[in-house]
Amino acid sequence: MTETTELSLFEFIAHEAQLLDALRLDEWLALFADDGRYWVPLRGALQADDGTHNALADEDRLLLSLRIARLKNPRAHSQHPPSRCQHVLQQPTVVHADAAARRYELRTPFVYVEARADRQLMLTGCCRHRLIDTSDGLRIELKRVDLLNPGAALPAIQLFP
């Protein structure tokens, strides 16, 4: 892989998090491939992708658009006052690259903070992005969020770690 490509992958990861933090959620959703998936497995990094275990969230574009439409609805009571979030990302590493298929997998350790009114929630873990480089640019096939302690009893998480 050329250095430019690696840089563009890293920039994509940073850009994705910035869109979330800025609550530019429609633009964020547009980064997903048509069959893209956002997944927060309940066993974190230990979980196999075989459908035998549940997730905190496991969403295709339909469900993601539902979530985003709900957040925008003035009657989304839990967004009065609104939630805000901040991703703090470590430098990603490319764990897999298939230049011929234009598919890349990256791993990005993160700290995620979600704040609302006088409460703040912090999560940490590792993101795994499976990206495909299309003629329209990079698209997310899978964003897998492996939380450090996903099985813990958690308060409401309203945005997107």
Partner: protein, 438 residues
């Protein structure tokens, strides 16, 4: 703080058609609940499928007591206090696992058989001539006396007062039957993990809401509108993705929820949606229905499948859904803090799709990342704060009140009747005061 030392003071908090705000706010009442209410009622502890082999254990805290459900060598289930007889160390600190053939305390290595009886002690000779054998510490781990395993659902009653299992639940157990009978072989298995939520509200508020059908129209407006907008324009017969099938009905009308009907049982139990529910419209599975008919007979199979109550409350800790096969456990942590667990079930002998529905529903409705529950949680937490305001000490439960309602042991009502909550609070007073000195 000792405002509530007499049963009459507690009974005065629950009137026929309203309850006092202290029920949700008072730390003293919470402490009394831990001591009395949860000692006198039957609490759900765990599912037998979580301890498949001899020596398997599940550690759970109920009303502040650390408990250990253990599969015995003979296949039975015992519940012990997770406390070493020596100095009180917890025997296990994982939430589940296997102890092998015996428990060994990590502190000074006292060991116990799976039933809690003492097995060995290091430096045994040091105890010769002492009173150890004759006192509690020599008797091993303490076993709970009141344990009931009903179709693999394990319940405990901590104290000796309060009714026995059958008289406590009575006909409300049909909700468990309906769930288990969905398996052609009559067996369920916990699977897929548990979703755990911390909600900053009183546990009774959460429990009430399980029976509240008037809130979805306004509370869940945002989720229902978003789902409807996405689904708009689809022909009525278009197959819905599972998530849509599960979310769209949250937007049903007042009339729908009223007509679904409800039933109250003695001791606080209830069943919401005795005619139909938001779960009635899931796609059919002919092969599975045939398998069920083969197992139970056509008539009984139809009866099981047609009945998909929205929620069956086994008061005070368990809320079941027959379809999707899932349940919630309510675990009070403080007057203003409650742990809610949502468990998924595999129905043995049934298609994988049922398990997928169970997990999908829990994820959409009961995950900390739910698309539906955020608004509920926000409102519960807001009520917990709002109730601190003065000028009105009471919570209204007047809807549908009929002075004659207390006379009927089992009563069928319209789905929006607040009798389901009145019924819970009547039971709350009864079990709270049962073992309290006058």
């Amino acid at each position: 703080m000792t405002a509530y030392r007499r049963p009459a003071d507690i009974a005065a908090l629950v009137e026929d058609d309203r309850v006092h705000r202290d029920l949700y706010l008072s730390d003293e009442l919470f402490a009394l609940e831990q001591q009395h209410f949860f000692a006198n009622t039957w609490s759900y502890l765990g599912h037998a499928s979580q301890v498949p082999a001899a020596g398997d254990y599940l550690a759970v805290e109920i009303a502040g007591r650390p408990l250990l459900m253990v599969r015995q060598g003979d296949g039975g289930i015992r519940v012990l206090y997770n406390r070493c007889a020596h100095k009180g160390s917890k025997l296990v600190s994982d939430e589940c696992g296997s102890s092998g053939k015996f428990f060994r305390c990590p502190y000074h290595a006292w060991t116990y058989r799976l039933d809690g009886t003492p097995l060995s002690i290091p430096l045994k000779s040091g105890y010769e001539g002492t009173r150890l054998k004759d006192c509690e510490s020599g008797r091993g781990m303490v076993a709970l006396r009141h344990v009931a395993v009903y179709r693999d659902f394990v319940f405990v009653k901590i104290g000796d007062a309060g009714p026995d299992f059958e008289s406590y639940f009575g006909a409300a157990l049909r909700a468990i039957d309906n769930l288990v009978d969905r398996s052609p072989v009559g067996r369920l298995r916990i699977d897929g993990g548990v979703l755990r939520n911390i909600i900053h509200c009183n546990w009774k508020m959460y429990l009430e809401n399980i029976n509240d059908t008037v809130h979805p129209v306004s509370t869940h407006e945002s989720a229902a509108q978003a789902a409807n907008a996405l689904w708009q324009g689809q022909p009525a017969e278009a197959p819905k993705p599972m998530a849509m099938e599960q979310i769209l009905p949250f937007g049903e009308s007042y009339d729908f929820f009223d007509r679904m009907g409800a039933r109250v049982y003695p001791n606080g139990h209830s069943m919401l949606g005795i005619n139909f529910s938001i779960h009635s419209g899931y796609a059919q599975m002919p092969d599975y229905e045939q398998a069920l008919a083969a197992a139970h007979g056509v008539e009984r199979a139809a009866e099981i499948l047609q009945r998909s109550p929205q929620n069956s409350v086994c008061f005070p800790s368990l809320a079941l859904k027959g379809s999707p096969q899932a349940f919630r456990v309510i675990r009070p942590l403080a007057a203003d803090r409650t742990l809610i667990e949502a468990w998924s079930l595999r129905v043995e002998g049934a298609p994988e799709l049922l398990f997928e529905r169970s997990m999908s529903y829990n994820r959409l409705a009961f995950s900390p990342m739910s698309v539906v529950a955020h608004d509920d949680v926000h409102l519960f937490e807001g009520m917990q704060q709002g109730l601190r305001g003065e000028g009105n000490d009471w919570i209204s439960l007047h809807r549908g009140f009929d002075p004659a309602e207390r006379a009927a042991p089992i009563l069928d009502v319209n789905g929006t009747n607040e009798i389901l909550m009145r019924n819970q609070f009547r039971a709350w007073v009864e079990f709270m005061t049962m073992s309290m000195p006058e």
